[in-house]
């Protein structure tokens, strides 16, 4: 449920580091808590984002949550397929349900993120 090649933050995003690029999505725990995702609001390519700030929103039938990035950077790609099929976030949160790719301004900002094991322990306390 929590792939070991990813890093996680306490806002329930995951990050896959590919060189100086970070791919960001939400965890299995987050999608399960939200329920069926019906709307994903993402920024535009070229926007810059800052660590700890909301970059977008995700809505289920019942509730809305903000999406956070754990690092500063420039958005080089957004998953525009989610506009038409937001349920992909539920079905494949670590694959086709990814949300944005950012070019990292400072990769060391990711050092404080949780490993899969640490994140699993964190959510088991929250649940």
């Amino acid at each position: 449920m929590y792939p070991s090649d990813l890093k996680y933050d306490k806002e329930h995003e995951w990050v896959r580091v590919e060189g100086d690029v970070a791919v960001i999505g939400i965890s299995h725990f987050a999608q399960n808590q939200l329920g069926e995702v019906v709307y994903v609001d993402l920024p535009s390519e070229g926007d810059s984002v800052n660590a700890g700030e909301a970059f977008g929103e995700i809505e289920s039938v019942k509730s809305v949550s903000e999406l956070y990035t754990p690092a500063d950077g420039e958005i080089i790609k957004v998953n525009s397929a989610l506009a038409d099929s937001p349920e992909t976030v539920n079905e494949d949160p670590y694959g086709d349900g990814w949300m944005i790719k950012i070019k990292l301004a400072d990769p060391s900002q990711l050092d404080g993120l949780l490993s899969a094991e640490e994140y699993e322990a964190f959510v088991s306390e929250e649940a």
């Binding site: 329920g35 069926e36 019906v38 709307y39 609001d41 929103e57 809505e59 289920s60 039938v61 019942k62 809305v64």
Partner: protein
């Protein structure tokens, strides 16, 4: 906090089904089992069951029952003179402010069953007690044993001993017929009848809050689990939580007390003039409501369809850049796959197709007035 929450007789069943429980109107209730959308679609296409045992039930009995209720409820009880008939109705204060919305069932000779919102149980009972005429004796459940039998009305709060299970969807009636066995005749729409289900006596009401055909089963709390399990044994039945109940009712434009109306709103502004007959008998609030009706309300509850975002309660509604109201109820419509909402708008803007915008956090989404029901075609239409 949690120890103050009441549990319905089906609480353990919900846990066993893996429901996500939330506090609602003083009760721990299932908001969803597998998912709101799936549950919603099950009701629109097959059948869903809902535990609504948290709701309030009063029984009003006696030679004075008709006059007593006729003087407090907005709809005309003469319309349900036939035993077995039921009607949607309101209870209002002297200014026409809505205290609660109710269904009154004429369950027997000199007897009515009134189903009210769970959150209004105390308010309603206090109001009913405070507004009984001099010659009426009210008797509640606790006092019943000692009752001398001198009053002409008995008011009994049946909530704690009554289970209520809604079975809704195009296949609901078939399931009930199967469970009840040969000889069962379903009551007509907005009627109620006694029946035997799995060896126990129940009332079956042909009412609901989803826009689909179906029934609500009124039973003793001790029989609720047996009936619930019998219903779940049908493969076409899906257990449904409050989440789907809300999306289903809003697709039909059915009002939710506390969101779409409250004490600060009159029935005319709320679009419920149809449950306040113009030539009916006088009741508490009738003069005030008649004045509002003849003068015309300043604002009116309207249906709104929103593109490109999901409206939620409290979001501002704009017209020509100016705020003209706030979302009362709002959600994503699983059937239409768009945002739907209600809002009180100035009457000049209440016409269908009026262009609006809804402020959804940092941006505005385009919207238009539409007359509910939002979903036009169901097993009831």
């Amino acid at each position: 906090m949690s120890e103050l929450l009441a549990r319905t007789p089906l609480y353990e069943e919900h846990l066993a089904l893996g429901a996500r429980m939330v506090p609602f109107a003083g009760h721990e209730m299932p908001v969803q089992y597998t998912g709101i959308r799936e549950e919603h679609e099950a009701v629109r296409s097959s059948a869903g069951i809902f535990d609504v045992s948290h709701m309030t039930e009063f029984r009003v009995f006696g030679f004075g029952a008709f006059d007593y209720l006729q003087g407090l409820l907005t709809n005309d009880l003469v319309r349900i003179a036939e035993v077995g008939a039921a009607q949607y109705t309101l209870m209002c204060d002297e200014d026409g402010g809505i205290i609660d919305d109710l269904i009154a069932y004429h369950t027997g000779d000199l007897e009515y069953l009134v189903v009210a919102n769970a959150a209004n149980r105390t308010t309603d009972l206090d109001w009913l007690r405070a507004h009984c005429p001099e010659d009426v004796t009210l008797t509640d459940q606790i006092e019943l044993e000692h009752h001398e039998g001198c009053g002409i009305v008995e008011l009994v709060d049946e909530s704690d001993r009554t289970g209520l299970i809604a079975v809704q969807g195009p296949r609901a009636l078939g399931i009930i017929a199967d469970l009840a066995g040969p000889g069962f005749r379903a009551p007509r729409r907005f009627h109620i009848a006694e029946a035997r289900l799995g060896g126990t006596s129940v009332l079956i009401a042909r009412t609901g809050y989803t826009g689909e055909d179906g029934v609500e089963i009124v039973c003793h709390v001790s029989h609720a689990v047996g009936i619930w399990r019998a219903l779940l044994s049908f493969p076409e039945v899906t257990p449904c939580g409050l989440g789907a109940r809300d999306t289903l009712r809003l697709e039909m434009g059915y009002h939710l007390y506390g969101s779409d109306m409250d004490r600060g709103v009159d029935p005319i502004s709320a679009g419920l003039g149809w449950v306040v007959p113009q030539k009916g008998a006088p009741f508490v609030g009738s003069d005030a409501i008649a004045r509002i009706r003849s003068g015309g309300p300043a604002s009116r509850l309207c249906g709104i369809v929103v593109e490109g975002g999901i409206p939620r309660a409290g979001y501002p509604v704009l017209h020509g850049g100016e705020e003209v109201g706030k979302v009362a109820s709002g959600t994503f419509s699983p059937t239409l796959r768009t945002g739907i909402a209600t809002a009180y708008l100035p009457v000049a803007l209440a016409e269908p197709r009026t262009a609006l915008e809804v402020v959804i956090r940092r941006k505005t989404a385009s919207a238009r007035v539409e007359r509910p029901p939002f979903v036009k075609s169901t097993s009831l239409s």
